[in-house]
Each structure stands twice: as structure tokens, then as C-alpha cells.
Symmetry: C2
Subunit: 285 residues, 2 copies
Amino acid sequence: MRQEITAAVKRIREDREHGARQLALEALRALAEVAPDADSGELRDCARALVLARPMMAAIENAMALAWERCQATGDPVKGAAEAIERLETAPDGMTASARGVIPRDTLITLTYSSAVIEVLNRLRPRRVIVSESRPLYEGQRTARALAGQGISLTLITEAQMALFVREAEAVVVGADSVQADGSLVNKVGTHLLALAARAEKVPLYVLAETLKVAAPSQPQRFTVEEGKRHEVTRMRWLEVRNVYFEVTPARLVTAYVTEEGVRKPSDMRRYASEAERRWRALMG
Amino acid sequence: MRQEITAAVKRIREDREHGARQLALEALRALAEVAPDADSGELRDCARALVLARPMMAAIENAMALAWERCQATGDPVKGAAEAIERLETAPDGMTASARGVIPRDTLITLTYSSAVIEVLNRLRPRRVIVSESRPLYEGQRTARALAGQGISLTLITEAQMALFVREAEAVVVGADSVQADGSLVNKVGTHLLALAARAEKVPLYVLAETLKVAAPSQPQRFTVEEGKRHEVTRMRWLEVRNVYFEVTPARLVTAYVTEEGVRKPSDMRRYASEAERRWRALMG
């Protein structure tokens, strides 16, 4: 395997800072780097290797499968990778356009860090955003920093206060690590609690997600649960510490997916999953 | 006002470590200290002063009202205070007896620190207890320490993981800061989220609460929300930080109250609230 690819696989595997879209872009850029002097077979091998870096992140797999599809369609590895990169890079514009029609502009609540949430909210500029801190790594604080200086009033809370503060919000807005064919959402742990609280208070929950986040049903290791190190939670060494990063929020708690193609119902995700499945089989099969 | 009482009011007001039962006992002990050389009128003034220390904690108010009632009934301030102390001190035995009939003994989940939970679980000895850490002050870690060494297997999680781990539990077991006449529960923030997750997973929620925790409907400032300091959550100084300590969990999410008098439905709380109201009026009215 090319050294650029091995290095990218390692970086992507160890990265706990960036979200699925940013890592998918990193994988695509690694692919684009080798594309100029790779033949079709070699490019496919590289794409397959990158797929295995983060099994929870459908966006990476879908980006690789899309690059491969475009490479096959255009007969040009460079063009194939470039087209996939462009689709991911322009997604925030599309999501913002979709969001304008549906996401309220007064008070929103979110948690963790999502580049889709940052990019869309910095353009929508709601009056106020309540951010849950997202223990143990406090990605919520990073979100607050990324939304600062835009005239948005920011409130930081602990996860424990989410049921109290969801009442002050007109909507929950979160990103997605991936979306499943049944319309359920894979995202940072804590999302399910916020979604339950939102439902109890009749506050809608919108997920900002590129359609490339929708996973093919047969992509392997889909439910592999990534778990962080125990010392992120506590230095107490004599008891079991769990530090699971991702969880599934059921489709019934999602009001809508706000994608670059428009606002979609959870039940619409099956169609995107079928597309992903077709591409995935072409790459892996 | 006697100096012992002024000092006790200050300690109780500033205490963020102990729960409602322990602070009610501290208030009763301060009252017992002045009882030997106080006349009835002076004792009443002391009891009223202690009531005002923590308006969210019905147990303190009820303990003062009970001491006053017993003082009136026995005609003896020392005996009145002593009887109220005994009732609170023996409550954990009663709650444990009630708990044996209803709380499962395999895996339980809890959050924050409650002396009732500690005392009852250390006698029930379930196989495993999952404890949520309870940011920002990590009282959950204190609970884990207090349950250690009893052969109970302990698992520490962040609040964000509560929806994931409630599935592994046979029951949620929490304490109460106070209980309202409508059967709703006032407890550390985060309880409502855990209760919502439990309901979604069909896991029962039991509240260990002395009947003295049930608030009289007309006790004033009931809904005053205590809020902690912002630096407990973050050192970031440029944004609004909220650090609310208590919240109300609706009665519909409570399976049962496990009291020293038996296992009670949320709808039974109205009767205890009426008793508290009667005593409260006798003290304050």
C-alpha cells in the first residue's frame, strides 16, 4: 500500500477531534493525492484501505464508494476523486439552503461538535444557541468557540441540564456521524437523551446531514462501538469506567433530516441507503 | 436569635455536599441543642429560622414542623426535637424493608449522591450498580466510593451515556430532594433525563424517599431554583454558563416511592402533602 494511504488511514483512525465529513474529506484528499499516477485497480485498493479506517463512519465509506463510482464513470481517477470532494465540500451550502425553510431562528439547542452544525448556524445566525458541553472531551465548548463573534448569544450547560433547557429552545439541531436505512441517527452519545427530552417537550429535532452520511445496510461492522479511554472520565482506577462515544437515536425521535438535497423524513433514508448500497457493492464486491 | 441557630442556618445554607435528610438532621440537632433552655415561643422562632435556610428542601421544613408538633404534643421541647430526630434516623431501616419487596437485586442505575440510596443499597447489596458521575461536582464518584467494598460491582459513566446504560439495568434507583403533592420528584438535575430514558426502555424508576420529604403545597419559595457557580462548569468567561442544581421529574415517570412506611404510588403523595401542610401551618401560621 502507498505510504500516503497508510499514513492517512492511521491519522483517520486515531482522530478524535474531527467529525465524519471532515474525515471523509481527508480520506478523499489522500485518494486524490495518489490518483494522478495510480491505475484503476490501485485506486480501488487505496479506497478499500481507507474504508477500513473508521467502521462507524458511513461518510468515509460512502465517499470512497462515490469516488470509485465517479472514477469508473469518467474513466479518470483524478476526476473521480475531485468530483467526490466537490460534492462533500458544497454540501454545507445545500444544507444551509434547506435549513432556511425549516429551522427556527430564535433559540436552538445542540451538543458536541459538528462541522455541519457550525457551518449552517454561522450562516443562519439564530438569536441564541444553547450548547451542552459534551463530556468527557467537552466538544460543546469547541462548538461555542466556533459560533462566537457572529452576534449569536451563547449559553453553555452540562448534559444533566438538557431536559431543563430544551424547553427554552424552538428546536434541537444536531449533526450526524451516520444515518441508518431505517432513519435512525448514529451520533455522539447524549444525543438520544436530548432527543427524548425534546420529544417530551414537543420541541422538534433536526439533523443536519449530507446524504453521503446514510449508510449502506450491508456495510460491515456498522455497530462496532468506539470507546474512549477511561482516564478521560476519571482518574479513579478501582472501578469499571465506561466511555462509549456513539449511540443510536431511534427514527421516531427525529423530526427531519436537513440534507443538501432538501428536508427529508426519516423514512426517506431508505432510498439513500439503497444508493449507498449499490455504490458500496461496486467498490467492495 | 441564638448563635447556635444562626451558625446552623449559615452552614445549612452554604452546604453543597449533604443531601436533604442530612441537612434536616443537622437542623434538628441545632434545635435540640437550644431546646433544654428554650421556652416554647423561642423554640418556635428557632425552628422558623432554620426553615428559611434552604427553601428547596422540604425535608428541613417538615422536620422543623414535626419537631414543633411533637413539642406541642408532649409539652417538652427536648422530647419534641428528639422524636423528630428519631423518626428521620430510623427512616433508612424502614426504606430498606420496603425496598426488599420491590427493588431488583441484579443491576441498578443511579446518579448523584443520596444518603438514602447509599444506606439502602449497602444493605440490599445488588450485584451491580451503574453510577452516573453527576457533573459538575461529580457526586456520582462519591456514591461509587460509598458503595465500594460491599461486593457490589460498580460502573461509572458520564451523564451522556445514561440512555445507553439504562438498558443494562433492571431498575433506576434515586433519592429525592423533595416530593411534590402531585407525585412529581424534585431531585438533582439529570434525574429527568434518566427517567425519560428509563421510560423509553421500560425500566422502572424507584425513588427512595422518607415521607418527610413530601412538601406542603403552600410552603413558600418551593420553586426557587438553586444555581451553582459558573466556574464549576467551565473557566470560559465570555459566554453565559448555566449551572442549575435541581429539576422536577413529572409523576408519570416515577414507578413508585419507596418510603419508610411502604411502597407508595405517586398519587399517594397528596396525602403526605396534606399532613405536611397541616404541620407547616401549625408552625408558621
